[in-house]
Symmetry: D2
């Protein structure tokens, strides 16, 4: 099926032959942290910044994100670093305020079948990145995209982030076969997020390269200046120097493909 290309800003689009790199920390911890890592990854050629202000966590006792304070940090960081930003929306009531600062609105895997949220996102004009639920089929993911589309917004980006299987060496099993399958079934660009699937920074580089060669339109990879001290998911975050080496390898492979 013909691939769509989603315009993010005057200079950047996702889909249509390019390969975008989205990077940043799992969660926004402070202005200093977010600014520092954003400057680092910009130098490496990263296209889009990521960082969660609203964090859906399995336990209510875990850190839930800086929330409104996090949105203010996104605004400041964007003024200085001048890169587009993707951030997650977990509730209909937050769509408006996240839209004011983020360039792409993310639907997390736990909300992939939160159809009311999808319908409301379909009424915005922002690009929407939908993560595949940990136990959702490819067809169900496409049906969730359809909720956004029929509500009026076809700027849809899909994201593979691992499915739940019996294998426990990784947090989830990254299903790279879904990339070429989705390409035959839908026009939407596909991003691969190996960080959440693997839960192990040492595996991120290998699977990121695999995402490129199976035909993904980009990568979302967590990067932290000090993964051991990260407030959330540090074990899967790579460092800027690891990201530098990864981007170098990706560029080499892209040249020959």
């Amino acid at each position: 099926m013909k691939n769509m290309s989603i315009k993010i800003n005057e200079k950047l689009k996702i889909g249509g032959g390019g390969f975008v790199i989205i990077s940043g920390p799992c969660t926004i911890e402070s202005e200093i942290q977010m600014l520092s890592i954003s400057k680092s990854v910009k130098k490496l050629g990263v296209d889009i910044l990521r960082g969660g202000a609203f964090k859906p966590r399995t336990s209510p006792h875990d850190f839930q994100g800086l929330r409104d304070e996090g949105l203010k940090i996104i605004t400041k960081v964007k003024e200085i670093v001048k890169l587009p930003f993707i951030s997650e929306v977990v509730s209909i009531k937050d769509i408006e305020k996240v839209s004011l600062v983020a360039d792409i609105l993310q639907v997390g895997e736990r909300n992939m079948q939160n159809f009311e949220l999808l319908k409301h996102l379909g009424k915005t004009k922002k690009p929407i990145l939908i993560k595949r639920g940990k136990a959702n089929t490819i067809n169900e993911l496409l049906m969730s995209a359809e909720y956004v589309k029929v509500s009026g917004n076809n700027k849809i980006i899909l994201c593979e982030r691992g499915i739940r299987t019996f294998e426990n060496e990784t947090r989830f099993t990254l299903d790279l076969s879904m990339v070429p399958i989705v390409k035959t079934k839908s026009p939407y660009p596909i991003i691969v997020d190996p960080s959440h699937a693997l839960g192990n920074s040492e595996l991120v580089s290998a699977l990121s390269k695999a995402a490129l060669v199976v035909g993904a339109d980009g990568l979302m990879v967590e990067c932290h200046n000090n993964p051991k001290k990260a407030m959330c998911d540090g074990e899967q975050s790579i460092t800027p120097s690891e990201l530098k080496a990864l981007i170098r390898d990706l560029n080499k492979i892209r040249k020959v493909l």
Copy 2:
């Protein structure tokens, strides 16, 4: 762990040794349909009526429920049949209006990790039935219950409705082992919904009896006067006469246990 008992009305509680039967159609189709099936199942001894006004459906092109019209039907049916009613809430903005007519608010499996919804339900005073997500572990279900509890509401009822596995003979695999496990880990009553797990009305009776003997506090079973013409999930709905035979068997088993 000590079992809690959740008061539904002056005459009925869930948990604490009883075995409640929740029944009705998957979705409210019309006043006539809902009234007819409600009268039928009341005669059989059903304790609580079910029927969806707001239906989360995989595809946006499928019937989404009668919505506000469905809530009006619930009100009328309750006046006539005089049984408590459970109905699903799919969005924070609907909590108030569903609370006005329903005695128990249901969180569907797709919203089990819609934490914003859970937090808001925790601020109500209604009993909340949380269905286990199709790919969620028992511990994740208990963490979702914790979201409701820490928000101020401990009237929580858990519900097993099948998990996603490789076996395709049934829609989901009903995990009955979870019932005695949850009993050792939490105080909440557990209801088993075999209808959604199986997707096949011929299997419902056998698994319902199994739910009783593993220690569940009740059963949620779909019943329709004319399953072949049901607007939603007719293939898994049993008829009132099948429900009558099932309740008779359940009563026999309860007597000897």
Copy 3:
């Protein structure tokens, strides 16, 4: 489909309306142990003794069974206790010698698709109990039965022992829905083995009763005089006094069904 009944000896058959109890330790540890537990369970009304001489173990460094020595113990125990015996065959070359002492030959879950073994078992005249593989569908199990049948032996008993899923609270997820499904698709009796599925003796009783009410033809349950000192799978073995209580409950339920 019409249920078959498999004759085990002059007094006992499996299928056709009865409910047999197969019990004993996971593995034969010594003559004293095997004789002691066999006498205990016979008193409780157990119909068939179990105990592995040849044990397939994930690691080669784990105890592999007493092997030929175990077969001698089976012979002695049978002379004294006078109950039929089921034991596992893991290799074509062992079929003959296990057949000399065992009344039912068991195919373990790891060998469910060891088709060469199945073909050779099809050439014997012994009843063959085939355990469902941990990741095998119901249809694949029926196809494995077909291998035995087309080789000349239709004395086939199927066994559910749990499938591999993402849920880790139990070793496997016991799929009780398979019992009524298999009954509509094949004539073979079905035994449920909750011990291996659960890996937790505290859950065995509840799921055993569930196996009865979903329509199984019997139960295979591990029992050990001193589960804490068992050489294999002690955590899932119940004691004779727990088995006694279970059989009493099963009899009560059978009476009313």
Copy 4:
């Protein structure tokens, strides 16, 4: 962990930095077919021929392979094409005769935990390729390798061929994360078989390239001159011209890595 390199013949080894291509049909259908496809793939640079003489099939009514006749064909083809051959062993009694003609003995996924077979293969001097079972963890695969090793043979090659999950768009879910994980846990070379995992020839090329970039030591890919007429698994076989394009891409990527 230090990677082993397994010597196949004077010119070829698996592991230690190279990337071998194993190709040929799923099953040997006739001398003409096998000779023709073998010549075709040799020209493309394939290192090792594959073709099953003994085929384990889910149903006894499906084609079971040419068996002894197939082994004769392997002998003839090797004389003419002069490439090493890998073929599956499904029974202890066939080890000797398959060893006479094959350079690598394959254990199929269904026999990954057929420990008696593994022990006997451990007594041969042939390289043994062990396919990961469709529901086996990485650790279980390594334990099966351990059975071969402790029996005396450490010429072990592991093979990823997809695991069973809920996603049905592919026959199995290819778990590429396992490649870098196995590399940290064991010294054995790893081959990836995308054909059986995907069950769809159109996806084979993309996932084959992914296997290379995640660090696999080679590829096993089914190739057939006329996939539509293949006796077994034609839907996943690529044609020689597709294989040519794939090998060209693989070589380009290898140069830059």
